[in-house]
Structures are given as C-alpha cells and as structure tokens.
C-alpha cells in the first residue's frame, strides 16, 4: 500500500509545514461544513423535538389546548428555559379558556433490560393519572413492549387514583403494581401476565415520579392557574 506511483507522493519526506497546512485546512473546512449544516438543521430539529413532546403531552392530557413547560427546583417554580437545570420538568396543560386542567411529566424506572422512560398525564379535577406514554424503552419485543399495546394494561391509566395526602407530603396511596387480575383499588396497576417486570417498572416510575412531583405542585397550584399559555 506504500506504492508511490499510484498515490503520487514523492519518496522524500515532505516538510512539516505542508503537513500542518494540509491538516489545518481540511479541519477548518470540515468545521465550517459542520457548522453550516448545524445552523441549517437546528431549527428543524428543535421543531421536531417540540412536536414530539407536544404529541406526547397531548396523548396523556387529551383535552388540553396548550401547555407551558415549568421547572420545579428547590421549592421554587419557574417557567422552563431552553437550558434545563436539575429540577423536575413538567408541562402544565390548559384548556381553550386558559383554565389549568392537568399536567404531564416525564418519569422513569428500571425495567427488564434498561430504564423505561415514560411521560404521564395528571388531571386536577379527578386527582388521577389519565394517561401514560412510553417514550423510550429497551424491553423484550413481544413481551415487555406489550405495556404499550395491551389494551387492558393501558386501561389502567384511564383514571389511576393519585390523590395527595391531607398533609401534602406524599400521595395518599402509593401507586403499586399488582399481579394480573388482582387489581382491587383505584391506585393499583394491574400487571400484564408474562410482562410483570415491565409492568412493575411503569408502576414504580409513576409512584416515584408522581409521588415526588404532585405534592409539590399542589403548593404552586395558584401560580400555575394564574399563568396563561
């Protein structure tokens, strides 16, 4: 492969300057090309991401007309910016009249293969979880991913009880996943037979996510209601 005739290179060592110049030039040109493509595609990618989030939020709080992202950090609530901090991000959903109806928030828990990432919707009027959408997972196809398609399982989240306890410190009843066919309380998630681990992951994600977020959100409810989208 060191054939000089085909590569057209002289046998003697080229000057260091030439090597430096060629490398620099190629790097600069490459950098410029990447920056140009970045500048051109960035708005489109951001729009795609926004649409993806919007679609996800709308599936979990279907009758919301618009939503505003908020971030809750160290007991302060502020509208989320493009550079998210360490706080819990959530989306407050408003109806046509600008009334606060619910919120959507991301949560995750360890599943069978990897973490299962979900976004769940919560409604203030029934104080319940009204929808769960799996954003990202690595569960076994045909088994674990039934949590997305199984109608009976999805029906768990038509109105999953998530009332906040009277003292406002936690959920009144922790959300638990129970064995298939034994759901007896509105805060229980009926697992899929054969996909128990993934079902439990979703229940746990809700329990941890909603259990931490909802009691805090209640303190800022007035602030959220005053905020118009």
């Amino acid at each position: 492969m060191t054939d000089t005739q085909t590569t057209g290179q002289p046998l003697e060592k080229p000057s260091s300057l030439r090597m430096i110049v060629s490398l620099t030039l190629v790097s600069v040109l490459s950098g410029m090309a990447v920056v140009m493509v970045y500048l051109y595609t960035r708005p489109i990618i951001d729009e795609n991401k926004r649409l993806a989030i919007e679609a996800a939020v709308l599936t979990v709080i279907p009758d919301s007309a618009g939503f505003v992202p908020f971030e809750l950090e160290d007991n302060t609530l502020r509208p989320a910016t493009d550079s998210p901090g360490k706080g819990q991000l959530f989306y407050a959903g408003y109806d046509q009249q600008g009334q606060l109806i619910g919120l959507a928030a991301p949560a995750n828990a360890q599943g069978y293969a990897d973490k299962v990432y979900i976004i769940y919707g919560y409604r203030f009027d029934c104080e319940c979880i009204t929808g769960v959408k799996v954003i990202k997972h690595a569960e076994t196809p045909g088994l674990g991913d039934k949590v997305i398609t199984d109608k009976d399982f999805v029906a768990n989240f038509d109105a999953l009880d998530a009332r906040v306890a009277a003292d406002g410190s936690a959920l009144r009843n922790r959300i638990v996943t129970v064995k298939h066919g034994t759901k007896s309380n509105p805060w229980e998630v009926d697992a899929i037979s054969g996909a128990t681990i993934t079902s439990r992951a979703i229940g746990r994600a809700l329990d941890i996510g909603a259990g931490l977020l909802l009691p805090q959100v209640m303190k800022f409810r007035q602030q959220l209601e005053d905020h118009q989208p």
């Binding site: 054939d3 290179q9 060629s22 490398l23 790097s27 090309a33 990447v34 595609t41």
Partner: protein
C-alpha cells in the same frame, strides 16, 4: 494494479464479487445491530452510502495534495464531517428514525469499510472511478442490510416495511428482532451465497 480505466467491474465489484458484507465481512456492527426492521436497514444503508460516496469523491479529489504521513488523519476528518452531516439531516427528517438507529449513525465513522475504501481505492484513482466504485460498494452494503432487515422483520414482526403480512394471529419469532437473530440471518445469507458461489465454480470447472 489499479489503473484509471473505468470498467463494469469498477461498479459491480462492490455489489456482488466483493460485497462488503457478504464477502468482505466489513462493517459488521451496524449490519447486526440495526437490521431488525427493513426501514432501519434502508436508512442505515443509505446513510452509509452517502458518507461513502462523498468521502470517496473528496479523498480522490485531494489525493495528490495530501502528504502521505497525514493521510489517515485527513481521511478520518473528512469521513467524520459527512457522518455529522448525516446525523443532523436524519434528526431533521425524523426523530423516530434517529432514535431507532441510536448511536449507529455516529458509528458510521468507525465503519472500516469506509476508511478502507478511502485508503485502498479512492486515494489511488481519479474521482469518477472512485465515485462509481463507491456507489457499487454502498449499494452492495445497502442491499446486504436490506437482505437481513427484510428477513428479520418478516419473521420477527410479521410485517414488511410496517405492512402487516400475515394477519394478527401470526406468531412472531421474537428471537429474530433480538441480537441473536442478526447472527442467525447473517449466517443463513452467507451460507446461501457461499453455496451459490461454489456451485458456479463447479459448473465452470466442468464446462472447461
């Protein structure tokens, strides 16, 4: 020895005789990892084809100007540039597709087929020839990915390009969309091609 003449071999070499997947066994990582559905396989194939075409063209254009000592670094920068471009473009086209392909888009840069072509071929021939060869190689790679992707999707999900083929009672062969399925199907195709090649050689031997 490589000369500057363009023959049909320049193109067909990559598609059949030296197919990067089925003959040279290059770039196995994406071949096994993202072929669990036809659409993923197609997207991966086309992304690789684009990177291969543009990097081959550029490498060939500047082949007489790059000092030999720095050529590998230059090739990698060129390839990485195009991979980054593809990465952004796919994100702009479809986030779902981008998420399905995962890190394997970025990993095109480490696909030995592309650097191999730049080093062993494009840097030694004029642009037109490099481009035609790269097109053949890229198509060969895409076809191979499609071979794997379609079989795995049909068996593993009972669909082809997302269309349901067998009705809802079809039993999916779940192993086929899992990583072992990639090895099984690749093995099956290798067996088939090796058998075809052997048979052809035998026929040629007997006819002489």
């Amino acid at each position: 020895m490589l000369d500057d003449k363009i023959t049909s071999h320049t193109f067909w070499e990559g598609v059949w005789e030296n197919n990067p997947v089925f003959v040279m066994l290059l770039g196995m990582c994406p071949v096994l990892a993202v072929t669990n559905s036809t659409i993923n396989a197609l997207a991966m194939g086309l992304a690789t084809l684009f990177v291969l075409l543009s990097s081959s063209l550029l490498v060939s254009l500047i082949r007489n100007w790059i000092p030999k000592q720095t050529r590998i670094a230059v090739f990698i920068i060129i390839i990485a540039t195009f991979v980054t471009v593809v990465d952004y473009v796919i994100q702009a086209i479809s986030l779902d597709l981008y998420n399905a392909l995962g890190a394997f888009i970025q990993l095109i840069v480490a696909n030995c087929m592309i650097l191999g072509r730049a080093e062993a071929y494009a840097s030694k021939v004029p642009p037109a020839k490099a481009l035609i060869n790269a097109l053949g190689m890229g198509l060969g790679f895409t076809i191979a990915l499609l071979c794997l992707g379609s079989v795995r999707e049909i068996l593993g999900s009972g669909t082809l390009l997302g269309f349901d083929l067998f009705g809802e009672n079809y039993q999916q062969w779940i192993v086929m969309i899992l990583p072992p399925g990639g090895f099984f199907v690749l093995g099956g195709w290798l067996l088939l091609f090796e058998w075809l090649r052997e048979r052809k050689e035998q026929q040629e031997a007997t006819s002489e």
